[in-house]
């Protein structure tokens, strides 16, 4: 059980690097989408006898993170007629190096934090920290609104990975509320992206510089 779980987490960490290195928006969105699906399957792999709540979480995650949000992002990309280059602040090679360094640091950092016996040997904590760091690099290092949203999604995926540690103990209400909020949040971000497009005729957040001291 732990091995197949670690394989999935390893896949998610690999997708982090793909997201950091990709120069085209569709690839970035696909990486995010695949990561979302991998995350969605995890609760089923983790639990030996999944009950209906776990199945519900898995289905909702695959549908939300894997299908609905990437579709919305692709639609936003088409509707806005933006060209498909990513345009980084931080270059792709430096992003990849940052991501790889961050992954190593995450593994090292995770060793300092004590785990319960049933979670020992799991890559959940390093995987979570590495995804959070990847998300930050994308948030800071990319100029287009859609790539920033992708960065935010990877950041959230990292947090979701961590939440899996608590799957047994946190009541469903909390889980459901979190999923709902995440979806709504990205929805609204999507609307805003649309509006920024109309206001500025581009999705380049570098042009958002009227407000400064």
């Amino acid at each position: 059980m732990n091995d197949s779980m670690n394989l999935l987490i390893g896949l998610a960490m690999g997708l982090n690097l793909l997201a950091l290195g990709s120069s085209r928006l569709p690839t970035l969105i696909s990486a995010v989408s695949m990561q979302g699906m991998a995350l969605g399957v995890m609760p089923l792999v983790m639990e030996e006898h999944p009950d209906w709540r776990v199945v519900l979480i898995a289905v909702a995650t695959v549908a939300g993170k894997g299908l609905v949000i990437p579709t919305l992002l692709r639609r936003a990309m088409r509707a806005a007629h933006i060209d498909r280059e990513v345009e980084p602040f931080i270059g792709f090679v430096s992003s990849l190096l940052l991501g790889a360094g961050g992954t190593v640091a995450a593994v090292a950092l995770a060793r300092l934090l004590p785990l319960l016996p049933e979670h020992s040997g799991s890559l959940l904590v390093p995987g979570s920290l590495a995804s959070v760091l990847t998300g930050f690099v994308l948030l800071i290092g990319r100029t287009k609104a859609i790539s920033q949203v992708c960065g935010y999604l990877i950041l959230e995926n990292g947090i979701y990975l961590f939440g899996l540690l608590l799957l047994h103990s946190t009541p469903l209400l909390v889980e459901a509320g979190i999923l709902l909020d995440v979806t709504v949040g990205v929805f609204i971000i999507g609307i805003i992206v649309d509006r920024i497009q109309r206001a500025f005729d581009s999705l380049d957040t570098r042009k958002l510089t009227a407000l400064r001291e």
Partner: protein, 480 residues
Amino acid sequence: MKELLLIIVPLVGAAAAALWPDNRTRPWLLPVVGGIHVVLAFWLLIAPPEVAPGAWVAFDPLARAVLPAVSLLFLVCAVYGVSYLQVRSERSNRVFVPALLALLGLLSAGHQARHLGLLWIATEGVTLAAVPLLHFNGTPRAFEATWKYLLVGGTGIALSLLGSFCLGYASLHGGGQGDLTFTALTAQGAKLSRPWLLTAWVLLLVGYGTKMGLAPMHTWKPDAYGEAPGIVGAVLAGGVTTVAFTAILRVFGVVSAAGEGFIADRTLLAIGLFSMLVAALMLLGTRDFKRMLAYSSVEHMGILCIGAALGGAGLWAALFHVWANGLTKGALFMSAGNIRRAAGGRTMDEVAGMSVLTPRSVAIFVTGMFAVTALPPFGPFFSELRVLRAAFETGHGGAAAMFLACLLLAFFGLTRLVFAIVDGRPRTASRAGGQKIPETMGVILPPLALLGLSLWLGLATPTVLHDAWTAVVTQFSSAK
């Protein structure tokens, strides 16, 4: 039951407002709901209900100490909102009014949440409900401010969720059964896993600190306050920041109960002083009088953190300051909104001589500015004096000196900017605008009422508030 009504009534009001067909009469729902909310909140303040230990939502001492202030501020903003939305009748308020009412409901839920997950959901809801309020004006600058707010605020809220998970794992690792109410976490005390607890504290402080606008996570604040309508600024500065502050206080209680109070005190004190310093320096440089209010808010959030870090009398003073700052800042936001509409500009390069064009708003603005920079006998003077006294009593002389220095710098910064726009001869561009937008009672009386409340709070702080604040201090010191 009444504590649930505090949440349900505004949410029902929001639904009603969303379905209400008429753009002209819809804003009246704001004061109606606000009025019911104030009655309920003050009823609960005077007759506090029993709190079941395992309850997820309850009007506990902390909610009792601050939620009525938010409720009162909202009501005054709602009354102002009716006149404001009449002036801005060219824009549809079909989204604005429901979002503002939903914000009130979620704020009530956040203040009363005694469960880690519920608290996070409410704060996330507050963040999202504020989005349509921020881009009400629909200008490119408003979109830019909203985008920055979402990106910075969204990251902050994500980090606070990660922090909540870490705290949950700290409890699980310490033998907890997955009960994430603050009562259970506090009861677990020293059994919480120390590395996870400290990780959680840092993440939650950064996450909720972003919402509160502590430096260096304050970057969304000047943009958002600068571009949003005055009442939105007032509700954000007096309500949203307060819910983040109570969240930090609740986590602070858990960390203290676990025996790590010293570290928590130190980090709060450091981040509080840093926020005050950054705000004071930015106040000396800014030329925009609406952004000025944002930096002033950052400064006062710093004061709240310093008070909480000092514990005991300092915490008491911080709760006092929540009331004093929220109400006074509300008056400033509304009068600044009046001046901004008449002037047609917002920086000292574009605006001058407003005392001729909008004499009443200017009188309130200048008085409010002095009140917020701690001129006696207004509320902030007394609360800040108590923070200072607590600092000296607990032997934090250096912190007290820095506190005073920052207050002085902020005073220079505020007076410089305020008198630049108030004095002198009106610019020709503003002159036409001033005649177009008269100062009606509807936009003058609400800020005046808030100034009156601030004065009353300073001169005769009601005993019931004394009791409410003391109850929180007792709760915190007994948990240690």
